[in-house]
């Protein structure tokens, strides 16, 4: 598995990944690779281990077995400086997790200053540029509680981007949003993908996955059941479990289908 560390051109290389919480094995042998600049969407039913897999990529969860290599750094090596490695891996959470005691600008500058040791002026310049990038110019002095969910999530994206990450992880970034706010966040993510950012996205937005992702992984029961080009997996799934899942999300009981 250490050979994975030498494979060039890969942003993420996961091999033989297992994760248990106590007696419960949540990830049961995951192998996956993400190339630089690739956008990969992870879909699957609730509880299938999608978040856990994503959180293993920046070691927010410690894998029980297997190796995780991000940009040729093996994170599962106990000697690796995990804090330094994480600065290169941006993460966006379902619940935004903006620092509630800091205003928008300080949310974006705090890690730049304290972790990357950037000067205040440089950190603010970077922050303002990224605020503009997510369409929130001029909101720097707002507190997180004064923003809508969609705005908070875009600040969270700007915060992650300001560390200049090589890879961005998104864990259901629009699941906590009112439907009318989902579009703004997806638009930002779509632009990011177009700019060539390597992205790993857990999502239930099938249209986004189909249009933006290069590849889609379908997870169920802690394993990757099916993977392939996004049109193939979503448009013409081969596995029965994938088909059943997709028919549930694409034809929900309520009248309005996914946009």
């Amino acid at each position: 598995m250490s050979t994975a560390a030498e494979t060039p051109g890969l942003a993420v290389d996961i091999a033989g990944l297992h994760k248990s919480f106590g007696p419960v094995e949540v990830l049961r042998g995951i192998d996956m690779q993400v190339k630089r600049g690739e956008v990969v969407c992870i879909i699957g039913p609730s509880g299938s281990g999608k978040s856990t897999l994503l959180r293993c990529v920046n070691l927010l969860e410690e894998p029980t077995a297997g190796s995780v290599v991000v940009n040729e750094v093996e994170l599962t090596d106990p000697d690796v400086d995990i804090d330094a490695a994480r600065t290169k891996i941006g993460m966006v959470f379902q619940s935004f997790n903006l620092f509630s005691h800091l205003n928008v600008l300080n949310n974006i500058t705090v890690a730049q200053i304290k972790v990357l040791k950037r000067g205040k002026a440089e950190a603010e310049r970077t922050a303002l540029a990224n605020l503009e990038r997510v369409g929130l110019t001029g909101r720097g002095t707002a507190m997180p509680s004064e923003l809508s969910g969609g705005q908070q999530q875009r600040v969270a994206i700007a915060r992650a981007l300001s560390m200049n990450p090589d890879v961005m992880l998104f864990d259901e970034p629009t699941s906590a949003l009112d439907p009318e706010l989902v579009g703004d966040v997806l638009a930002v993510m779509r632009r990011l993908a177009d700019e060539g950012m390597t992205m790993l996205v857990v999502t239930h937005e099938m249209q986004f996955a189909r249009e933006v992702a290069d590849r889609v992984l379908f997870m169920d029961g802690g394993v990757i059941v099916e993977e392939g080009l996004s049109e193939e997996v979503i448009g013409d799934p081969q596995e029965e479990r994938t088909r059943a899942f997709l028919s549930r999300v694409l034809n929900p009981v309520h009248v309005n289908g996914p946009d």
Partner: protein, 272 residues
């Protein structure tokens, strides 16, 4: 017989007002007002207390309390972090300290520090330093538990966001968790400050030079000289000047932070 609920409530209220008015009338008619006034509030005696009751008494009460609170808060922070430490011995030590000093009367701690330390080490201990340490120890045992609860009340997602940005555990604690914890526990901390203001009166038992008198000692000396209760009343009013605004501040902060309840009944005033 069938009185409506609202009508009955009005009758009950009327009866209560009636009783109150009757009691006030009886007291007002039977009391010897001149006697009461000279006993409780003799203007001359009160006048003699100024300005020293403020410049010495109130001043020293505030200084002792502030020193004790500052020292206690620092100590409490260390204890709270020890309580949350992954090292079991740290948790034990902090736990024993907290149980020990919460179980002792504040006066005993003050006597132990104020007279015990000079005796044991054969050194002179400045009054201000002695009270800073003693009041700090008393306050820290309560505040440590409040702080621990505050730290634990910071949502897990805040820590995860900080760690995902590359912050170390220590950096996360200092930059993200502790500031938010303080915001959460500001109301109980304000209450602790009120309790400590009152506990500072125990300094009286350490003996002090005139310039070191705090409010209670100042009032007691004046009481001995005047044979009127006025000094006690004046000292009491001075305490209330500190504690009532603090109490309002605490309630205001509590409302502003959404009245979040923490599992620390010891240091939080029981709400009726």
């Amino acid at each position: 017989m069938a009185m409506s609920k609202r009508k009955r409530a009005r009758v009950v209220r009327g009866v209560q007002y009636g009783i109150l008015v009757a009691v006030i009338l009886v007291v007002a008619l039977t009391a010897n007002w001149t006697k009461i006034r000279t006993t409780f509030f003799d203007l001359e005696v009160a006048g003699d207390m100024f300005p020293e009751v403020i410049t010495v008494g109130l001043f020293n009460t505030v200084v002792y309390t502030a020193l004790g609170f500052g020292f206690g808060l620092g100590l409490a922070l260390v204890l709270a972090l020890m309580r949350l430490s992954v090292v079991r011995v740290n948790r034990w030590i902090a736990g024993i300290y907290i149980e020990f000093f919460r179980g002792l009367p504040a006066l005993l701690v003050i006597l132990a520090v104020g007279t015990g330390i000079p005796l044991a080490f054969g050194t002179f201990l400045d009054k201000y330093v002695a009270l800073m340490i003693a009041l700090g120890i008393v306050a820290s045992a309560y505040m440590a538990e409040t702080l621990r609860a505050g730290i634990q009340a910071v949502p897990r997602g805040q820590v995860e966001a900080a760690r995902s940005l590359g912050m170390s555990p220590g950096r996360t604690m200092v930059t993200i968790v502790i500031p938010q914890a303080f915001k959460i526990i500001l109301p109980p901390l304000t209450n602790e400050l009120i309790l400590l203001t009152k506990d500072s009166s125990l300094a009286l038992f350490l003996g002090a030079s005139v310039s070191e008198y705090e409010l209670t000692q100042f009032g007691r000396v004046a009481l001995n000289e005047s044979r009127s209760l006025t000094p006690v009343l004046v000292a009491g009013i001075c305490y209330l000047i500190i504690t009532i605004p603090l109490s309002y501040l605490s309630r205001y902060l509590e409302r502003r932070t959404g009245g979040r309840k923490l599992g620390t009944p010891e240091s939080t005033e029981v709400k009726a």
